[in-house]
């Protein structure tokens, strides 16, 4: 299942001296109609929404600098959800 590791710029960043209001990471997946309705998933670190070919992760603790470890954990969760969904619908 193609998952383009396309991390979006940090959203909500005010300037380099202030904390951001929100930090979002975004990936794309295909096919865009993989989920019948938008799917939301939450854990201690992130709120995820899968909708229309876009997986949007909003960090629960906004930051201007996302560590590689955190980004990898979120990406793994995104990939895991796509793998489970693929099992449900049997689609590439």
């Amino acid at each position: 299942m193609p998952l383009a590791a396309e991390r979006q710029a940090l959203a909500g960043e005010k300037d380099t001296f202030m904390n951001p209001d929100r930090t979002e990471l975004e990936w794309t997946y295909d096919p865009p109609d993989l989920f019948e309705v938008p799917y939301r998933h939450s854990d201690t670190e992130v709120e995820l929404v899968f909708d229309g070919g876009k997986a949007l992760a909003t960090l629960k603790t906004p930051t201007t600098s996302v560590s590689a470890d955190l980004e990898e954990r979120v990406k793994m969760l995104v990939e895991s959800i796509l793998l489970v969904r693929q099992l449900q619908v049997h689609r590439t």
Binding site: H41, M76, S80, L83, V84, R85, Q86, L87, H90
Partner: protein
């Protein structure tokens, strides 16, 4: 114009209240499984590998049974043998052997030993494909529930 799959069914009483909504029920079941299983893939390498094998079976339809059989192999290796795997996941001998038959014995284009069947080779029927997919899905989900 093409109609896809089965129709969703909504049953209502005389007042219009919904008694049964197959789409809503399917979505709720799907969400329950996504919520319960997805986080476990980060904690269990075996579980992740099972899902990856299934994913490769979807992405490579001409090798579908090769990758579906990988799931059986991985479960067997994880539990230390067929009997232990079947006991742990409550898989019947018939079901276990059914996948073996499709992947190894039937002269199928998607099978693991297609080279042995240069004559009389055939494409798996829809029923055979659905059977193999259903079995492997059930086994993966059974493993995911107890891991």
């Amino acid at each position: 114009m093409a109609l896809g799959g089965q129709a969703d069914v909504v049953a209502r009483d005389a007042a219009g209240n919904i008694l049964h909504d197959s789409r809503a029920e399917r979505i709720a079941r799907d969400v329950d499984l996504l919520d319960a299983v997805s986080p476990k893939l980060a904690c269990s390498t075996v579980l992740r590998r099972l899902f990856e094998s299934y994913s490769r079976s979807v992405a490579n339809p001409t090798d579908e049974f090769v990758y579906l059989y990988e799931v059986r192999d991985r479960l067997s290796a994880h539990y230390g043998g067929e009997q232990a795997a079947r006991n742990a996941l409550q898989i019947t001998k018939n079901d276990w052997q059914r996948l073996g038959l499709l992947a190894n014995v039937e002269p199928l284009v998607q099978g693991r030993h297609r080279g042995k069947h240069s004559r009389g080779q055939r494409v798996a029927t829809r029923a055979e494909l659905e059977d193999a997919r259903r079995l492997v899905c059930e086994w993966i989900i059974a493993f995911a529930r107890i891991v």
